[in-house]
Symmetry: C2
Subunit: 354 residues, 2 copies
């Protein structure tokens, strides 16, 4: 790969703390990877100022020469609009053509960037990638993939929100895309693919799952059959496919577990000395569990199936999470995941009916 | 209600430890409620022996005269077949017409019992209640309701498995049935009804949820709009309606949380003295959380919308859970929940299209 530079567009105006988190994450990624360039898209003055401040702060804490060494690999592209978290995605991306997230995706379309990282309005990030990158050849429905913790390794679940109604062929394609991601980005060998369902037997479920079961069985994927809600945390599959309605409900429910558990622990611990002492001693454990349950080390949720690389991060991402999203985007480009997906889909006979 | 006796049929051959748990739970309920009679259905010898043993054990631990005082209110009805947990429900209830669960439901149909309690094969319990009790007038699809813990009170979620595909009118009816249950059995005043969805706005979701939103809005129920996965544990609604596919995935996922959290805590605590000490001090907290997350005090999952009372318990139910299921069944009969549901549905103009 010598000589190849990977250019990553980062929406500097998305997320709960912009541009700070995005700039810091980008600078950290530039330090770590010598083969990337970052394009920060947003308010030129604000973003430029924050970059200068970040370099200065690092210099005063002993890291001198960053401006000189990293400066040439970071640039700002101005975008004068911002899509807020609360805006309706479809309308926003049509009316705000100069918003930071839309400009990021246009840069990918024109070939000026290889990947987009965003932490803003999820729907707008998804819709603009769909619109400007387009679908990957052979993919009928791109999908958002999220990672769930489990007793074994992280589990890839998709779709978690791009498609509320799915056809069996879509679920099969989700399985193909996530298998390749799990293998080439997460390093799982022969990822086990499961179909989210309400019983173990093949006849269980609704029309969608019954047909999808047959397709997945014949697919050549390492299909392990139906996966029930209780099997996810047990790590019974590496990839779990479902429609975007169920996946989204599950994702958001899953994200609320840690806060519910800590709320309950606090309620039951208050004013009891031995319990409070126990909770203090257990604090590092809870901290580690919290981290495991919001896997920021794994770098956001990829939108799989678009003709480009689009990684969608949480609004509350830390600089580390942004850095990891950039790391994943870089790996996605280097491993050429999209070509692998295209090739795999073209080898198969299944053409999902749309 | 003076003089009215409520007769409850208990499937003595279901669950992980039968007939023990069922007999013990029944005896506990008889001690607590003077206006109930229990019909234990199953192997006459086994069940009879266990009843005698239970009375003897209690006598030797000081509770004398139970046989004389409770004996007349408990009887055994023989059933020579058992439906195992692993059997296909539909086939099993057709081929095993003398199985304990089918006999329980036949007793309800013939008027010899007012309610059925079962802890065996959930599908068989549901299918036999549907077949022998039939649907309640005006209800197009009966549904299983489960209770989820939350930061506020327990949340009623339905359907958690009876109907994999639903129409908007079904979701509306689920809202009516659960509201009445929440009000008359759980004592919630003006239960807040939410629609499980993937966004707050009314336009979010799939065809089913968009239409159901409109229906629920006009229904006269205390409808609080869309509820996302993350809102359940926050207790943003008292009743959450969804189709049985999503509900079942969520139920089973929810049931696996506690075991995942304890698995993770154990892994992170092992061999670290201060963490182990903390965990020991916190043990009572975890025990209380476990109890809260498997709400056996609330007595199983009612199958709402059948022309009878059918409470389905977990296979691993304790005698306390069975006692509570009997308590709920008794309240269901006393409050005449089914008449309340029938009246409420007949007052409305919505006739769900089937």
């Amino acid at each position: 790969m010598t000589g190849t530079i990977i250019r990553i567009a980062v929406d500097a105006m998305g997320g709960d703390r912009y541009p700070d988190v995005l700039v810091e994450g980008s600078v950290a990624a530039l330090e770590r990877f010598r083969d990337i360039e970052i394009v920060l898209v947003g308010d030129e003055t604000k973003v430029g100022d924050y970059i200068a401040r970040t370099f200065n702060e690092r210099a005063s804490s002993g890291k001198k020469g960053l401006k000189e060494s990293l400066g040439p690999r970071i640039r700002v592209v101005h975008a004068h609009e911002v899509i807020e978290m609360s805006e309706s995605p479809g309308r926003a991306i049509r009316s705000k053509k100069d918003s930071s997230i839309v400009v990021c995706n246009k840069l990918c379309r024109s070939g000026e960037a290889d990947a987009v990282i965003s932490a803003g309005n999820t729907g707008a990030a998804m819709a603009s990638s769909l619109l400007y990158m387009g679908r990957l050849e052979g993919v009928s429905r791109p999908a958002i993939m999220a990672l769930f913790p489990s007793e074994k390794n992280y589990v890839c679940i998709l779709d978690v929100g791009a498609n509320t109604d799915c056809k069996p062929g879509n679920l099969y394609q989700f399985g193909v895309m996530a298998s390749i991601y799990a293998q080439y980005i997460l390093g799982y060998s022969q990822p086990r693919v499961g179909l989210l369902n309400i019983g173990e037997e093949r006849s269980k479920g609704n029309e969608l799952t019954c047909e999808a079961f047959e397709m997945l069985e014949k697919s050549g994927l390492n299909f392990v059959g139906n996966i029930e809600g209780r099997d996810i945390f047990k790590g019974m599959a590496d990839v779990v496919v479902c429609d975007g309605f169920v996946g989204n409900v599950l994702l958001k429910f899953g994200e609320s577990i840690f806060s519910f558990i800590t709320h309950t622990i606090k309620k039951k611990t208050a004013k009891n000395l031995s319990r409070v002492t126990g909770a203090l001693l257990m604090k590092p454990v809870f901290k580690e569990i919290k981290k495991e349950m919001s896997p920021e080390d794994y770098g956001g949720a990829p939108l799989l199936g678009v003709d480009g690389v689009s990684i969608i991060c949480h609004g509350n991402s830390s600089p580390v999470a942004i850095m990891n999203a950039i790391r994943v985007a870089r790996a996605f480009v280097i491993e050429d995941v999209n070509t692998l997906i295209k090739n795999e889909l073209s080898r198969k006979n299944f053409i999902p009916n749309e």
